[in-house]
Symmetry: C2
Amino acid sequence: MGLLGLLRRDSTDADGNLPEDSVDAGTQEIFLSWALFIVILLLIASLWTSYYLQQKRIKGIHESIVSIFAGILVGFIVRVSPGHFIQEQLSFSYSYFFNILLPPIILNSGYELNQANFFRNIFSILMFAFAGTFIATVILGVLVYIWTALGLEGVELSFVDAVAMGATLSATDPVTILSIFNTYQVDPKLYTIIFGESLLNDAVCIVIFETCTKFRDQSMTFTSVFAGIGIFFMTFTISLLIGVLAGILTALVLKHTHVRRYPQIESCLVLLFSYGTYFFSNGCHMSGIVSLLFCGITLKHYAYYNMSRRTQLAVKYSFQLLAQLSENFIFIYLGLTLMTQDDLVFRPLLIIVTAAGICLSRYCAVFPLSRLVNQVTRFRARMSGNPQQLQLDEDEIPPSYQFMLFWAGLRGAVGVALAAGIEGPHANVVRATVLVVVMLTVLVFGGTTAQMLEILGIRTGVAQEQDSDDEFDLELPRSQLQRQRPAASSSQTYVDDENEDDDAENPVASVAASVTEAGSRWFSELDAKVFKPVLLDDPR
Amino acid sequence: MGLLGLLRRDSTDADGNLPEDSVDAGTQEIFLSWALFIVILLLIASLWTSYYLQQKRIKGIHESIVSIFAGILVGFIVRVSPGHFIQEQLSFSYSYFFNILLPPIILNSGYELNQANFFRNIFSILMFAFAGTFIATVILGVLVYIWTALGLEGVELSFVDAVAMGATLSATDPVTILSIFNTYQVDPKLYTIIFGESLLNDAVCIVIFETCTKFRDQSMTFTSVFAGIGIFFMTFTISLLIGVLAGILTALVLKHTHVRRYPQIESCLVLLFSYGTYFFSNGCHMSGIVSLLFCGITLKHYAYYNMSRRTQLAVKYSFQLLAQLSENFIFIYLGLTLMTQDDLVFRPLLIIVTAAGICLSRYCAVFPLSRLVNQVTRFRARMSGNPQQLQLDEDEIPPSYQFMLFWAGLRGAVGVALAAGIEGPHANVVRATVLVVVMLTVLVFGGTTAQMLEILGIRTGVAQEQDSDDEFDLELPRSQLQRQRPAASSSQTYVDDENEDDDAENPVASVAASVTEAGSRWFSELDAKVFKPVLLDDPR
């Protein structure tokens, strides 16, 4: 639901009661209804396009691009039409984005994450998300700093500001790439690495950005770099712990009470616990995104099994519904913002330099790190004394995947939202640059991802997550499941109720997990022997 | 999710970008996170209370009362604590209530409505909702007008304003009564009449209120009363048509496209169509509530059968989740408002007179109309030439039900929200009076409804809507259903997938419907022969 207009509308009467001039208030209420109606129409149009493109198997255009252009079109109409009331309502709100639009997407991502694949590829994901984002941020920051220091367009940025800008443009976007990869059912491994990276690096970029903001008024010294890195890792770890603890708390509450007898209350509580985690973490100056992501993962790993069957479905469907609406709305919103935000200052050369810079910085992050990951994998296989050729091939990142990792690094709304928080005399230039560069990446990389998959010969059509109507048939009612379970655990032909499950429960995944790194094995064992008996209602 | 703080927060920086003073913006962002966190905690507490009360079968206290007091407590803490930032965020927003909190409740009510029972009792419901609300509004308006004309407390209201105030306090609340009646599983007939009345009379009151607002600046004449009634019925009819057409449109779209192959998109579209109807109707100066209510009813009657099974569940669960959160939040919000709104002016005598007035006006509406309904029923039975004693008893409203109708007339947030739109020099007095009277009714009538049901000896524990985990087992996957249907339609032992279904599909209900008024039979026939074949994908 487009709350956008509503949010902005309130800004016109700030003191809580309706303004004196009654006609105006009534008219504004009507205007507001129309604004919300237009937003809903745009959302319907965007979803309809998505349906149409999938139905007709059109690969060249993606719904996000259509959404952006629809947003630009409507923004243009609003801009040229008389009166500034609607235009004022439609400019980008930092607070709105981070408190309403982003949480459902992150929560749903964590919740829907294929945990077996994620933890199998955790080393690559962490390398790209942490080291990769650091490299990309610093390279882009240095480039922008050097360019602005030349003074060609009269824009001057301090080094910290330049790095902050680098951070806004290093957050690769999970939204578009996720939907493209889902549509074409790309090979799960590539999917997981790109998705995992883009999820985590949003959080990384936000933390880098906020660390830069803290160092803004101090002079940069060598120590402060280390202090920054220290703050970064502390923030990340604490946020992660908050999320995991919230997930565990939810699991325990569901286990030790009878709230599952009231599934309506139960599903509300799960949603509220997750959102509470987000705001609590933000309130503690930590990263709500990281907390929410790991809260989602923990919920699915433990709490999910303590829910009533109805709540399992209700939570899943509600998260998906909210995430889908937010995703579609974000692109419309970006398009609208380009037209309706008055204070953007465009500097063409800076935009070109930045656009080239993000390609270079991503190149410098992806290819060396891929080589490093491959070497570590080979080394480990050799050390384990059992250099299975099969496993080597499986755990390495082939060149086509490396190129896809580079290509799939399109930037999204998180960057734009971060840029809204930039300060200083040239903030408007930075914001405009970030907005345009983000949209360029969505248009260029997003528009060509499907073709690139074909050119690189990457496997598509892999039925990883069945998202059709059949899915429902796969999900048997709890009673049937419970009837199946004892039989299954003895005969080992156990069919899980969700095909995207965790290592310990899914025999196929456990086999895969035992083949792969020993590092994650200790967790599987600890999980099966300690955590699951404590946290699950029916640990089997 | 408590967007409340967020909405209000935006009012502090009205021009779309972050304010200059960076520390302040950052601090506000943190404050905002805490405000949202507190709201979520309150919601969790409210839901938890609800669970606890149901679990322990405590009848004396209702969750809505707990929510109000929790709101008052937090509001009090906010009020006495230094700084006005949070307090400003927490005052009642008319726009917020009508655009975010109310729609999910109304939509879910329409969608979950037991259509067989509703149309069976349509005559009583319409009598109470229209004639009853008119009578109550006018009586209360006249009382308030006479009292204020005495000038004891220095409050003067014009007649139109007094009637407008009467309208705000004649909207009985569907929220609390619904949850109480659901908890005790009250006799479906009484449930349907009270629920149907309270749903429709919200809409009636809003339209009366808005009609009064239009006549505010004109002198009242005898013709203008008729003009008002004309406007009222026109608004109601057009709004109803908008809603029904939107529902039919959704059914047709779902029937004639393949969008059910993409259930995620499908469920978003259903939600968006409904919300779009609401804002469209409001934008056209019609009643969004009426449109949304009938959109929900039409969706369930037709579009529901064209959805994929996954969407049927997703829509149902999402609507319920949103409605539940809104309901709980509304009472917290009322409690908060009492403490945080600065401009309320309390006039004790006026509050007492008004509180007595609503009892009197409801008395004058309920008892004479019940007698009228009973007489019409008897007359009709005699006319039909087949005066079945059984049917007479069933269609009449016995005295215990009449008293319950009177008792269950507690007022809710719709009245408070309407009162926020009142204008004039004494608006603050009217607002304070409405707020206090609404809370009194919730405390007194809401707190004693359960006991009153016992005293009056009204049947409870009637399994009308199974809302436990078993419900899920009742809902078979579509494929199984389709397998069942052909067999069932021949053998007449057909088990429907939802036990709250419409006349034509449910044999028990159709029998009941055929016994009752012939007036509704023509619709059942038309529905089965014309509408269903046109609108349903698989009309059987």
